[in-house]
């Protein structure tokens, strides 16, 4: 039985009701009085009329109540029906869809590259897979063999689209991630590798001078990290070079005999000859240029030194790790390549001592 809504029964009823109403009136009066005090204080303190300015301004900012406009008087769906011509594809696009369309159309923005590479990958997959890998430039740089790629593609399409997080579970396949979606804009970095089968001997050589090049067992790809990458040892690097270029040309720019990379020992004449071979290539290995930079810092009078010691070095017949950049400064010698050879040991000697000085 709901007692609350019904007046209380019995002779006390009216009295109780009266009491209830009395209490209620008291409460209301209290509220009114509170309001009066508040207003009075505001008036006396002078802040009661602060929200009222002159009539003109009041009219200006009055709330607008017309149909078709918002309370400020602005038309709110003004751009709904407008169409814009895309400067790229010359199509007429609705205004609200213009920005996303432009993103896709110009190939910029987060999703467009992803979608494009995915489309590319699926096209390649579906059309034919036996064709040259050379044709598909972006696939070249990726690690996936086609079978693995298909598997990965299926998994990718299972999940929802357009988020970089999604491919994370595929990251550790074979220890390397080379998803076909991989484009420039991704947060996580991964190791790409190159398949040595697809490269010609010159390319292999140039690659090996700049990169680690050790061939991974699972993927048969060459490591693209620097010459000093911590994942592979020098022994591995040398083995790769022997394997790829033949036993006559172990082309480690850093010294073969020394185990650690820091020292620049004088290699034997064989490596000197091999250096002569690829002296023509403009590539400078990172270690070489690094060492030459270091040497330039420490030995200011590099050039005169080189010229002085030229005769000595002809006799010594050794070449150390040195700068390929030195080739530019060679002069006054008949055989340019030979001269650059000589310059190397000169530079290396002071550089070695200076390096160790720094270490100490």
């Amino acid at each position: 039985m709901k007692m609350e809504d019904m007046p209380l029964s019995g002779p006390d009823n009216t009295k109780l009701e009266a009491l209830v109403h009395d209490i209620y009136s008291e409460l209301v009066e209290d509220a009114c009085l509170g309001l009066c005090f508040e207003v009075h204080r505001a008036v006396k303190q002078g802040y009661f009329f602060l929200d009222e300015t002159d009539q003109e301004s009041m009219k200006e900012f009055e709330i607008v109540d017309q149909p078709g406009v918002d309370i400020f008087g602005q038309v709110y769906n003004q751009w709904k029906n407008k169409e814009c011509e895309c400067p790229n594809c010359k199509r007429l696009i609705a205004a609200s869809r213009f920005a996303p369309h432009l993103e896709k159309c110009l190939g910029m923005g987060r999703n467009s590259s992803r979608i494009a590479s995915r489309r590319l990958a699926s096209n390649n997959n579906t059309s034919k897979s036996e064709s040259d890998q050379e044709d598909n430039d972006d696939l070249n740089d990726n690690d996936w063999s086609y079978g693995a790629e298909k598997k990965a593609k299926k998994r990718k399409s299972d999940k929802s689209q357009n988020s970089p997080r999604r491919s994370k579970s595929l990251k550790h396949k074979n220890g390397e991630l080379g998803s076909s979606i991989s484009a420039e804009a991704y947060k996580y970095s991964y190791n790409t590798g190159i398949s040595y089968e697809t490269l010609g001997p010159d390319e292999v050589r140039s690659l090996l001078t700049t990169q680690c090049g050790v061939i991974s067992e699972h993927t048969k790809k060459m490591c693209t990290r620097s010459q000093r990458c911590p994942q592979h040892t020098d022994e591995q690097r040398r083995a790769v070079r022997v394997f790829l270029l033949g036993p006559s040309a172990p082309l480690l720019p850093s010294a073969d005999t020394a185990v650690d990379n820091d020292s620049f020992d004088i290699p034997d004449g064989q490596t000197l000859l091999s250096r002569l071979q690829w002296e023509d290539s403009p590539d400078i290995s990172p270690t070489d240029s690094a060492s030459s930079k270091a040497s330039t810092n420490h030995s200011d009078s590099r050039r005169p030194k080189k010229k002085k010691r030229t005769s000595l070095c002809l006799n010594s017949g050794g070449g150390g790790g040195g700068g390929g950049s030195l080739s530019g400064s060679s002069s006054s010698q008949s055989n340019i390549s030979l001269v650059t050879k000589k310059k190397r040991p000169k530079v290396s000697a002071p550089s070695i001592s200076s390096i160790y000085d720094d270490l100490n």
Binding site: M3, D5, L19, V20, V28, A31, F49
Partner: protein, 95 residues
């Protein structure tokens, strides 16, 4: 009659002691502000003040003008709810 007055006194005392009065006051104030009663009353105050003159208006003036109007303008829903709560309290605590 004295019984009645004694009863009233007891009830009032209980209301205050148990904090119910404060609670009811707060409830009423918030409800009145919500429903726009307060703004209405303030607008009325403005008129009174403009009438009486800014410098010379007193609390009494305002009270006299505001209270009857205020009582009349309380919305029915608010009134009903408050009555309901007071009755409930009485039902619980009346002897």
């Amino acid at each position: 009659m004295s019984k009645e007055s004694r009863m009233r006194a007891t009830i009032n005392q209980k209301l205050t002691e148990m904090g119910e009065r404060e609670r009811l006051k707060e409830l009423l104030r918030s409800k009145l502000t919500e429903c726009g009663w307060k703004d209405q009353m303030k607008a009325h105050c403005k008129e009174v003040i403009k009438e009486k003159g800014l410098e010379h208006v007193t609390v009494e003036d305002l009270v006299v003008e505001i209270t009857p109007k205020g009582r009349a303008l309380v919305p029915d829903s608010v009134k009903k709810e408050l009555l309901h709560r007071i009755r409930a309290f009485l039902a619980q605590h009346a002897t």
